[in-house]
Symmetry: C2
Subunit: 373 residues, 2 copies
Amino acid sequence: MNPNEGDVRRLRVELGPQSYDILIGPDLLKRAGAEIAARLPGVRCAILTDENVAARHLSTLTDALTEADLSFETKVLPAGEKTKSAEYLLGAVDFVLGTRMERGDVVIALGGGVIGDLSGFVAGIVRRGMKFVQVPTSLLAQVDSSVGGKTGINSTHGKNLIGVFHQPSLVLSDTNVLNTLSEREFRAGYAEVVKYGLIDRPDFFEWLEENWQAVFAGGPERGEAIAVSCQCKADVVARDEHEDGDRALLNLGHTFGHALEGATGYDSRRLVHGEGVAIGMALAHRFSVRLNRCSADDAERVEAHLVATGLPTRLSDVPGDMPPAEALLDYIAQDKKVHRGALTFILTEGIGRSFIARDVPSSEVLAFLRECT
Amino acid sequence: MNPNEGDVRRLRVELGPQSYDILIGPDLLKRAGAEIAARLPGVRCAILTDENVAARHLSTLTDALTEADLSFETKVLPAGEKTKSAEYLLGAVDFVLGTRMERGDVVIALGGGVIGDLSGFVAGIVRRGMKFVQVPTSLLAQVDSSVGGKTGINSTHGKNLIGVFHQPSLVLSDTNVLNTLSEREFRAGYAEVVKYGLIDRPDFFEWLEENWQAVFAGGPERGEAIAVSCQCKADVVARDEHEDGDRALLNLGHTFGHALEGATGYDSRRLVHGEGVAIGMALAHRFSVRLNRCSADDAERVEAHLVATGLPTRLSDVPGDMPPAEALLDYIAQDKKVHRGALTFILTEGIGRSFIARDVPSSEVLAFLRECT
């Protein structure tokens, strides 16, 4: 038994027959085989990963599976957002079908959000649904995409427009794996951690203001921040599995953020998802101030914390030219959180007091964006 | 109001929040707009159909939608099993995304099983799930694929291996539309009607022996046969939505049937799905006789009824060469109803007394197939 086992936190995501565990702690990758075998005895494993993650972590995972007497086959995909496409989806589906694995066998996603979203979609559609285990290797994936069952790929019409809801059987979040991330990547994931404080946990936001350096450094505070984030998300998901209501709160910062990602052509050299969310959250607070729903003090405090960690908060923080406000509005209107033509935004009445605003007039959004650009 | 409304039968498929109505009766296509608008007011409609069905029925549907003030856009796909492919799936997804319809809008499948399975898959994955309405235009689709939420496409690895479970909001089965089917197509669909009698309704099988000619002719017996078939399937589905248990009974005749479809390269000139199921059901009964589970009298009675309606019951009824028994066994082993390498068959103890047999030795299957070929 691993000496670190005592440091492992276990969260239960309650979704009736689809309930599952999230384990968070150091060196979990080494125990992946035992944890999977305990829940899915004798299962065959189809591992999907990307070339960067494979170079660093694949052998640790496969050693752990072998130790637990689980057989596996592996497909290594290119790293990057472009892999979340129909082409790679079909290639991965074909790989899994080619292994002749069955419905009770498992697709393991070893990687960040791209691999997690793609693999979950694969697991969701091969034989109309196989088992699925997430081993998220980025902070973003550990606190966001690995919880909630959303899977999918991008389309020429927009991001994440094709996919299914498919819950994992288990999530293994190894906190030490995050030491191999670049500072920029870790920071981008941290934007989603901040988001949970801003949605409905003002105490957590305050705790982050005090402890963010320890979270970045990798102390026990890191596990704590991830666990609280997953719990926040799990609570929202349990209330609203298929995003008919409250789950929309998780999109705080995402409507603006997705528009910025679209406007920069999903070019990660200019902007990665978490950076878009950071700017989006800052904009959502400033937009709420403009609509007289939030105090300027709170908006400034949010911006100050994001800036302190090195995250961008303004359109001008994105390198290269931004399109005019009208074009950004078009990207927003194209976002999937549109209902019958009305714009839906997550706005806020202050730190930890976000709410869903339906029917936000596009003229207000346009005027605000003109001020920002 | 349509004078035929009194002839419409309404079945409720009980699946909790995914419960829905199946309406069965003459001239329902003309009332499609009203029935959809009553359940999904103000919805936008993306119609998927094939060129054959479009020529006969599309204008009736679009007139009905227009009359109910529902807007629509249409994509006409090629007719035939080849359309159940990744290529056409992605094209249809792109079409629906291009209409900028939203999650609450509806994909309407106007066509047979191919269009229904493809369209349901499209509805299941665009924006992680749109509304879905089935307007099945073949007998096969009305009694089988339109009930139960299975959707999907074929893969080079086999039939229906990629898909999701996605329940419709409404199924409209117009019994008069079936008058435009070829006799061969109607007869193939009838094989699935017989199947429900053979699974667990011996009285229904007896009723069919007496009334099949009226069902073929289009009298009220046709609506009755379709309604009983849908009820049988809905009962099984309600017990087992995701095919973990009892739902496997619906595969009576399908393990042999799928193997024959594979062995004939899905060439509809040689064999269509329902014909494969007819042969498969006859084989399943004879195989059960061989295993001393079923009386020879019952197997002969099943074969006699299928033969009376003009359906094939023997491998030699398929035009062209059949591969040897070993190759057929390979097709069977490739079928998705394989669990951990053991062969699962639906066998029977007599008419209306089918059961799930797991761990059927492949040597027995091979010996039986050798006798048949």
